[in-house]
Amino acid sequence: MAETRYTSDHEWVRLEDDGTLTIGITDHAQEALGDIVFVELPEVDRKVVEGESFATVESTKAASDVFAPLAGRVAEINEAIVEDPGLINRDPQGEGWFLRMEPGDEDNFESLMDEEAYQALLETL
């Protein structure tokens, strides 16, 4: 079964069976942002470094950067959220995924927070 890990910026990263990473923002993130009205995603094939701002989401309140949780190459983007940004609010960890990445040479997936650690982080907020 695919494993999902988390970042302190409230992104989720799911390691798929084929080794790619599916990335999105957590339910907590969409709740904090409020109604999302605009998403800008990177171009397919773009190489990103860890921590780089690679997407932007805007809610009715403000604009926020989304940072690459790991280094890699953008393999696929979810056009559905560009057309209907509200999908991110409605189903942040399902239909509202942002993009798929092929991880770079360094495999840092295990360095991300597991479910338990992320839940513990949420408790502190």
């Binding site: 605009f38 309140k61 509200g86």
Partner: protein
């Protein structure tokens, strides 16, 4: 909740889009108690006119008017509502400017009374009149910018038929200790949705209304801000308010820049501070307010541009995150006002 000018403000309840939609289609109740409320004897209308360009002497009992405090350079110190309650003039001023406004008024208006004990609720939307009339039937007969003292839920309220959303609606001033009681009574009506300041901002932007500190401030004149309509014939002719010479000159010559509406192409909202470029790529001005307009389903913005670019449909570009996004000058309001007439 967010802190603002010493207040804790409700930003949203059920969600900005739902609350925005409620104000456009039914009724939304906003707690805007942070707004400053002050009053003067009606006989001080002449003295008040020395501070504002609006026609206060011509403001009949039972009527309200929008005007602004100006400095000697015709810069806007605050934008305000003045309601004539008969014996007294009641002013609603911005929370962030309240202390400065009061200090500015005191030397000219020694009879000024500050009302920190009063709360303010705004009931806005096409069904607002139905909601309020169930409690105070006289409200239905009030004209746009009418003023009345009504009893709602057994409580005496200073009511004006006004608002900040472009919709029909009422602003209701009550003693703070009775505010919750009145709010509960209005929220108990099936049409009413509680709404926060985020929806108030998207609503006022679609309605093309200025936010003090963003779209107008001490560096902008009412003429540059496209608020010349607030200055009547008598005051234009006679002057007698701070910066009158500059206002008269800008009315005659036209100002060097204008506040305009802007419609960016695509979906990316252009926020305050965004650079506006002309067709040559030269800086033409800055966005002062911008958001995604839920009723339009598209981004909307306001900003100042050079006078030669201030006509509708002029093609401009907005520099959003380093990229040029096409935009055009658009008539304000973006969403037609639906005030009762």
């Amino acid at each position: 909740m967010v802190p603002f000018a010493g207040w804790s403000l409700p930003v949203q309840y059920s969600g900005t889009l739902i609350e925005h939609q409620a104000a456009r289609t039914a009724a939304a109740l906003f707690d805007v108690s942070h707004m400053g409320q002050v009053s003067l004897p009606a006989a001080d209308a002449t003295a008040l006119e020395t501070l504002v360009p609006g026609d206060i002497l011509g403001l009949a009992p039972g009527r309200q008017r929008y005007t602004m405090f100006l400095n000697d350079q015709a810069g806007i110190l605050d934008d305000i509502m003045v309601a004539n309650h008969g014996e007294r003039l009641v002013l609603v001023i911005n929370a962030g400017r309240a202390a400065a406004d009061i200090a500015h008024m005191r030397p000219h208006l020694p009879n000024l009374v500050v009302h920190p004990d009063r709360a303010l609720l705004a009931l806005q939307g096409p069904k607002a009149v139905d909601v309020i009339s169930r409690h105070a039937p006289q409200a239905a007969a009030m004209p746009f910018l009418g003023v009345a003292t009504l009893t709602i839920a057994g409580t005496e309220c200073w009511v004006t038929r006004s608002g900040y959303t472009g919709e029909d609606g009422f602003e209701i001033s009550i003693l703070a200790h009775q505010a919750e009681h009145v709010a509960e009574a209005l929220l108990a009506e099936p049409e009413t949705t509680p709404a926060g300041l985020a929806a108030r901002d998207t609503l006022r932007l679609e309605a093309g209304l200025c936010l003090y500190g963003n779209d107008i401030d001490e560096t902008t004149t009412p003429i540059e801000a496209s608020l010349a309509w607030t200055i009547g014939k008598r005051r234009r002719r006679q002057g007698g308010f701070p910066g009158a010479g500059i206002v008269q000159n800008q009315l005659a010559q036209g100002p060097a820049r204008h506040r305009v509406g802007l419609r960016p192409e695509g979906r990316a909202p252009a926020r305050a501070g965004t650079e506006i470029l002309d067709k040559h790529g030269d800086l033409a001005g800055h966005i002062t307010s911008g958001t995604f307009g839920p009723t339009l389903g598209a981004p909307v913005a306001m900003g100042y541009v050079r006078a030669d670019l201030a006509t509708d449909s002029t093609q401009l570009a907005l520099l959003i995150r380093g990229q040029r996004h096409p935009a055009r000058v658009a008539a304000l309001p973006f969403v037609p006002h639906r005030f009762v007439r």
